[in-house]
């Protein structure tokens, strides 16, 4: 099976500055791939390029077999921005009903995604009355509508309580097992443990593309944080040469 995302020599210019410097990688289907790295490293710009909302992109960016930004991809990708892009003056249910109509999802999909993000009790509440964590779950719920094949989630677990965070990661893996491809960004290196495969991005460069185990073995470190430091401080390691593997069942 071909990769869900195939990127070759991706470059992005913002203003006069090049912020992504020729990234090349694949993202396997039906797996959870973590996009890790410090803030300001280009994770969001990379995700925007994949979704097709970033201007001044060069290189080859194929998503689900189509060039990124193709109109037919719009209902096949669920995208959650870091600041939840939902209407704060509407209730949770009104938001979901609207986005469901836009993507053409069936009506009962609203209840399904409400259950997934555990917000049933808040369905009738206005979003501006919710906490930051609850709001980001509303954003996540909108992306799950219509069961998209690819989910691009920008820092979806920031500010969530540990129990909910664990439950969401479990949910991500459940979706992956059902064939959904997930690309999840985080600046918290601990979350690497939750991903099938990792992409480490720093200063617009891809510094690692490996599994957690492979990364630790290649760098001789005990955790991803240390591995990241090792790679950054001893660049001769470069990008581990292991190719993308098929995810386990």
């Amino acid at each position: 099976m071909t990769a869900a995302i195939s990127v070759k020599d991706l470059r992005v210019v913002r203003g006069r500055r090049e912020v992504l410097h020729g990234l090349t990688f694949d993202v396997a289907r039906g797996a959870v791939t973590g996009l890790l790295g410090p803030s300001g490293g280009g994770k969001t710009t990379l995700m925007r390029a994949l979704v097709g909302v970033q201007a001044k992109v060069t290189g080859t960016v194929d998503v689900l077999g189509r060039p990124a930004g193709s109109p037919e991809l719009r209902r096949r990708i669920g995208y959650v921005t870091q600041a939840p892009a939902v209407y704060t003056d509407l209730t949770v249910r009104e938001n979901l009903a609207y986005f469901a109509a836009v993507v053409g999802a069936p009506k009962d999909d609203v209840d399904r995604v409400l259950a997934t993000v555990d917000l049933e009790a808040y369905a009738g509440d206005r979003v501006d009355r919710l906490s930051g964590g609850q709001r980001s779950r509303v954003g996540l719920a909108t992306a799950l509508l219509g069961e998209p094949e690819l989910l691009v989630l920008d820092e979806p677990t920031v500010g969530l309580d540990p129990v909910l965070r664990r439950d969401l990661w479990a949910r991500f893996h459940q979706l992956a097992d059902q064939g959904t491809t997930l690309l999840v960004s985080s600046h918290v290196m601990d979350e690497a443990t939750r991903c099938d495969r990792l992409l480490l991005v720093r200063d617009g460069e891809l510094v690692a593309d490996d599994t957690e185990a492979g990364l630790l073995a290649a760098t001789g470190t005990a955790d991803v944080e240390a591995a990241f430091l090792a790679i950054v401080e001893q660049p001769e390691w470069g990008i581990p040469t292991v190719g993308p593997e098929e995810p386990g069942p």
């Binding site: 097709g52 909302v53 995208y79 921005t81 209407y87 509407l90 836009v102 993507v103 206005r126």
Partner: protein, 245 residues
Amino acid sequence: MTPRILAATTKRVLLQLRHDRRTIALLLVAPTAIMALLAWMFSSTPGVFDHWGALLLGIFPLIIMFLVTSVATLRERSGGTLERLLALPEGKLDFLLGYGIAFGLAATVQATVVGAVAFGLLGLDVEGPALAVVLVAVLVAVLGSSMGLLLSAFASTEFQAVQFMPALMIPQLMVCGLFGDRSTLPRALELLSNVLPLSYAVDAMHLLQSGATLNGAFWRDVAVVAAFIVGILTLGAATLRRRTP
């Protein structure tokens, strides 16, 4: 454009408006109160209220709808929801017409309420049919909405969006024929007023005040305003970008 998405967008904008009770009150109460004040001010000077009341009824929605729409769409641009929608199957026309229709409906309610009070309670008298006055008011409201949609692209804060009101609307209000015949303006200003949409709305209102029949000149003015709306919305569509820096 997809009818399902257009309908959903219209409904969503109306729902947002419904949640904002204070804005609804302002949309209905403010123009009614100003109309009553006008009637009271000129209660001992016959004819003045009939003249200014009708113009106020027709022109007031321009300002309110301009402000409401420019702030609402600016929020969509800066809050990320517009970008999110354009990454989904939402078409640019779904977005623009959704706003246009939703605020057009709000303006219809507004013009009907203010018109009912003005004609029914305050004794406003216009030669032409009252319904035609309401029609012009709704058209002017949609014109204001479309201008707000377009200009929100050039403001980066709500503060700036509100500043467009005096900067762009007041000069237009000055030369549109509210304060005397446009043909008496200096030639340059007359030419300027010829290319501004509000002039045609005011011309239509003047026709309603002077003649009782809805003649070709009235419908021509209405058509010109409608054409401006289409043109401004088309320009607005050009400012909606799927890919942004």
